[in-house]
Every structure is written in structure tokens, then in C-alpha cells.
Amino acid sequence: MSSSSYSSSPCAACKFLRRKCMPDCIFAPYFPPEEPQKFANVHKIFGASNVSKLLNEVPTFQREDAVNSLAYEAEARLKDPVYGCVGAISVLQRQVITLQRELDATNANLFRYAYNEMPPLRPPPPPPPSAAGQSSGFYYPYQWNDPSDEDNERSSGGNM
């Protein structure tokens, strides 16, 4: 194998892994050498082999989006090792619930005003954070049930 005709620089993944960057390198299109930290984060949290397997299961035209989402999740997990990007999801979900309740109250107010000509009421205060039912106060919006398991994950104490 001659490397003299090899002109292209290795991708960030191959550089990090200190291996030869092949033309059919699966990482090369998505981990340019100008962004070394991107692969470093992804490799630290998920591992190169796992990322490679994930990318192989995804259609080619969606691999870039998959890599970008993995890079985002890896960076979030490095910043917050306990919750990672799930912390942001919990905060946003609470915000949605609060906004929905305020909107419902305001709509009810508008209805009363429009049809009864009565002065509008103030919207109710937001509920206490304990409504999520979690010990940590985090809210997991997506419930995931293991189809192969008899027990749901409730036994492990998760709203997942």
C-alpha cells in the first residue's frame, strides 16, 4: 500500500484513532479534520464502533443528521454527566405544560368575556414541580415500554 498517491488528509476520526483513513471511511464525510473535538466527544461517550454501527443502519442521506445529533448528545453528556441532553428535554416539557395551561385559562377567559361581557379572570398560577411524580423532579415526556419485558420500567422507578 503506497501512501504517496494518497492526497486527501485523514478525517478527524482516523486522525484520532491514528489509523489510515480509507476512501470508503464511513466517518470521513461527517468528521472533517477541521473539527477534531467533534469526533473526540462522540468517541468518548458512545465509542467509535457504536457510532459506526449506528451509521450503517441509517440511510446515507440521513447520516449527516445522525452524526450531528450524536455530536450534540455527546457534548451535552460531557457538560452534564448526570442528565445530559435529557435535562433540556425535561425543562422544555415543563415549559410546554405550563404554556398549555396558561393558554387554556386565557381561552376560557376570552370566552367568558366575549359571551358574558364579564371582566376577565387572572390565569391560575402554575402547578408545583412535584406534579411530574419523579423523585428528581425531572420529567420524561416519552414513555417507553419494553415489548419483550413483562414488567414495564416503572419497577425501576423511571417514567420511561
Binding site: 450534540y72 428535554i89 404554556l99 417507553w144 419483550s148
Partner: protein, 296 residues
């Protein structure tokens, strides 16, 4: 995995790795043997070594929360292989944006209704205050006039018929000759007529003060205010005249000056007072009566 001596079954992690699940297994509390799919998802995304690495970097008190988030993240990635949790976050951002826009629209509509309601209230208050002020002015004028007695009206002023209470038709539907609006002096006389007339009828008609009020509600309030003041002034001047003229009413109408027992001086005073309130034509007729009387 085979169990020895009745030991607890291996956790899903150890079972997958086909190794002995030791009591100190870090993953055993979070991956029970019956949740194999959950472990597979976590292992597929993170890998056992990476999960253990994360747990070892944390305080033991944080392990439970960290494992929950790891399992959640892995399950979402299994559900959404391309976008994972980032897709969920984007979805939530979009939801929030839609809710905020809808809230803004609803609040705008609510503000429109509030302003409309407030404007209507202000109009009603303004009308109510206008009514109250006009009624208050009328009460004040009555108090200042001080006419509460049921004194019989003079024939001179008794030609006016009682007018029923009408708020809107002070001039148009009146049986009384409506005064010219430009002549303030005549207005004052006309108002006096009405007042005495209602007093003649006494308290039989409870609407008498209201009738007065209705008559006083002229289109132009300023001329009326001047007229009311003029009424007060004129009435102060008239009051002693009424007291003194009671015995002499028949004298003026019937021209029976011979029956009167009063002195000429009192008659002169009477005529002087009458001059201020009566027109020139009436003055001449009155003077004719006196001249005839004096001759005899």
C-alpha cells in the same frame, strides 16, 4: 446463566455478556434480568464500558438519576434512530413556539375586548354623572328658593297648566307656551310659572320636582344656568311681594279697588315691585285700575 447456591439471577448486563453477576455489579440495580431490551438499547448506543465509565465518574448518590437518563436517551435513540433526543428537543421547541404565538393572539383579542368594555363603562359613567349633576343642580336650586309651602298661586301666575313629566320633550310637547330660547328673561318668567304651578298642585303630584327638572333640562345648559340664577334673584325679590299681595289679588283682577282697605303707599310699593316682574302691557292695565280707583 446458571445460578449457584440459590444466588440471585444475573442482571441483564451480565446475562448479555455471559459472565457472572457479582454482588458489586454496578449495572445490576438498573438492568434487571427481565428488561433485556432496555439493556440492549443502552448497550447499542453507549456500550457497557462507557456506561460504567460514566457511573464511576459520578458520586454513588447520582447513579440512579444518571442511569435513568442514560436509559431514556438510549430508548429514544432506538425509537428515533436518526435524530434521537435532538429530535425531541426540536419538537418541543416548535411546540413552545406555537403555544406562544397562540397565546399572543388570544391576549390580543382579550385586550380588544377589555378596551371595548372599558370604553362602554366610561360612557355609562359619563351619562350617569351627567344625570346626577343635573339632579343635584335642581335640588340645590330648590333649596335656595326655599319654596316648600303649599301657598296658593296668584291668579297672575295661575294660567299655566300642569305639565306631565317628560325628560325629552321639554319644549316640543309642552302645553305651556314654550319660551323663546334666545330670551333669557322670558325664560326666567316661564320657569317661575312652572314652579308656582307645581306648587299649586301641592304634593298631589310626586313628580313635581321632576317636572321642574324636566323643564330645566334645556338643550343649552349655560343659558339655563344663567336663568336659574336669575330665577333665584327674581324670586328673592318676589317673595315679600307674595306675602303682601295675598289680600290684594282680587283687587288686581276684579278691578274692585274700592273694596281695598290698604293705603296708597302700600299700593305704590306693590306696583313698584310688580313693575320689575310684569310686562309693560300689564303695567298699563294696572295703572288704569289704580287711576280709576284713585278717582273714586
Amino acid at each position: 446463566m446458571t445460578l449457584k447456591g440459590g444466588a440471585t439471577s444475573a442482571c441483564a448486563a451480565c446475562k448479555y455478556q455471559r459472565r457472572k453477576c457479582i454482588p458489586e455489579c454496578l449495572l445490576a440495580p438498573y438492568f434487571p434480568a427481565d428488561q433485556t431490551k432496555v439493556f440492549q438499547n443502552a448497550h447499542k448506543l453507549f456500550g457497557v464500558s462507557n456506561i460504567v465509565k460514566i457511573l464511576r465518574s459520578l458520586d454513588p448518590s447520582q447513579h440512579a438519576e444518571a442511569m435513568r437518563s442514560i436509559k431514556y436517551q438510549a430508548n429514544v435513540r432506538d425509537r428515533f434512530p436518526v435524530y434521537g433526543c435532538l429530535g425531541v428537543i426540536r419538537q418541543l421547541y416548535y411546540q413552545i413556539q406555537m403555544l406562544e404565538e397562540e397565546m399572543h393572539t388570544v391576549l390580543t383579542q382579550l385586550e380588544m375586548y377589555r378596551q371595548h368594555h372599558h370604553h362602554q363603562q366610561q360612557q355609562q359613567q359619563h351619562q350617569h354623572q351627567h344625570q346626577i349633576s343635573s339632579m343635584a343642580d335642581d335640588v340645590i336650586s330648590q333649596l335656595e328658593l326655599g319654596m316648600a309651602s303649599s301657598n296658593n298661586a296668584l291668579p297672575l301666575f295661575n294660567q299655566v297648566t300642569h305639565q306631565p313629566y317628560t325628560m325629552q320633550n321639554t319644549y316640543s310637547s309642552s302645553d305651556i307656551d314654550s319660551p323663546p330660547k334666545d330670551n333669557v328673561e322670558n325664560n326666567s318668567l316661564w320657569i317661575q310659572h312652572l314652579f308656582f304651578d307645581t306648587n299649586n298642585h301641592g304634593t298631589s303630584n310626586n313628580d313635581s320636582p321632576i317636572a321642574i327638572q324636566s323643564q330645566l333640562l334645556v338643550p343649552n345648559s349655560e343659558p339655563l344656568a344663567d336663568t336659574q340664577h336669575q330665577v333665584v334673584q327674581d324670586y328673592d325679590e318676589i317673595h315679600p311681594f307674595f306675602d303682601s299681595i295675598d289680600d290684594r289679588q282680587s283687587y288686581i283682577d276684579t278691578k274692585d279697588a274700592e273694596d281695598s282697605s290698604s293705603s296708597e303707599e302700600s299700593l305704590k310699593e306693590t306696583t313698584q315691585l310688580m313693575v320689575g316682574n310684569v310686562g309693560s302691557k300689564d303695567l298699563k292695565s294696572a295703572a288704569a285700575c289704580f287711576s280709576l280707583a284713585s278717582v273714586n
